[in-house]
């Protein structure tokens, strides 16, 4: 499964970049700077989506006391943080040419920054606890508390009039975006998704090996892993 996802990520990424740079036209107002969209939006989407997945696994782990789901949660966090960082970084670099500033304290930007801190907090908390069982549970509580932030990020552009633009793509109305631009964006989003799955799975295997090295079944698994 991991090789497949990795291959898919690479292929989709190549296709997305091709469409993004060589097929999609220049934007009428932003010129070429809009091409940052092909990483900004996928990364922003993944940053929120991964947090939801993380919280889901954490909640399952807390409720059912299944170790594997807790490990999934821990495995997702670094990738989520990376995605959040990429969204912030690309957004800031995009904001300079379009808005005229790298950063403002508007609702969308602030809440995304908070998301990054939540990821960091989750990882720092787990790293600080020696006992893995306690680390899992404590992290889960934090992850669940932080979930409130995700809808705030998503709806912030609706609730407040922000500097950040509203949604170009939504389920309820037609995208306000040229088809080739949209295609590039979707391809890149799929690529980022595949990337996240691949990296997370590799990481979760590593975590399993680290945690369960003493139990018997892992010993059979180890050489072939």
């Amino acid at each position: 499964m991991i090789p497949w996802c990795a291959a898919a990520a690479i292929a989709l990424c190549a296709a997305g970049l091709y469409v993004g740079f060589f097929v999609a036209p220049t934007d009428a107002t932003q010129g070429e700077s809009y091409r940052i969209i092909f990483i900004h939006v996928p990364a922003a989407w993944m940053s929120m989506f991964l947090y939801l997945v993380l919280a889901f696994w954490a909640g399952v782990g807390l409720a059912l006391n299944t170790r594997l789901s807790a490990m999934m949660a821990s495995a997702i966090a670094p990738t989520g943080a990376v995605m959040t960082f990429v969204a912030l970084w690309s957004g800031a670099l995009w904001g300079r040419p379009t808005w005229g500033t790298y950063w403002v304290w508007d609702a969308r930007l602030t809440s995304e920054l908070i998301l990054l801190f939540l990821y960091f907090g989750f990882m720092a908390l787990q790293a600080a606890i020696d006992d893995p069982r306690r680390a899992d549970k404590a992290g889960a509580v934090l992850a669940l508390v932080g979930v409130v932030n995700v809808p705030i990020i998503y709806f912030s552009v609706k609730w407040w009039n922000t500097l950040h633009q509203g949604a170009s793509v939504s389920l309820t109305k037609a995208p306000t975006m040229a088809a080739t631009m949209l295609a590039g964006m979707i391809l890149m989003a799929l690529a980022f998704w595949m990337y996240a799955v691949a990296v997370t799975l590799v990481r979760v295997r590593a975590i399993i090996l680290e945690r369960e090295r003493r139990s018997d079944w892992i010993k059979e698994l180890a050489p072939g892993a």
């Binding site: 990364a43 670094p78 990376v82 990481r203 090996l209 892993a225």
Partner: protein, 56 residues
């Protein structure tokens, strides 16, 4: 084809620094993550194998 040539491509209509700055850092960050995660898996696997050898 939307580009008149490579230099135009790299210039990105004058926004080269921003576009390539964003892409470059993204690629770098993802590459570092991949490297870290693979290293972690390798270390974990070696450790598990060592324990297995010692235990067996």
């Amino acid at each position: 084809m939307v580009w008149g040539g490579w230099s135009e491509f790299w210039a990105m209509g004058g926004y080269g620094a921003f576009v390539w700055g964003a892409y470059g850092v993204t690629v770098a960050v993802l590459a570092v993550e991949v490297w870290l995660v693979r290293r972690r898996r390798r270390l974990a696997r070696d450790e598990a194998a060592r324990i297995r050898r010692r235990g067996a």
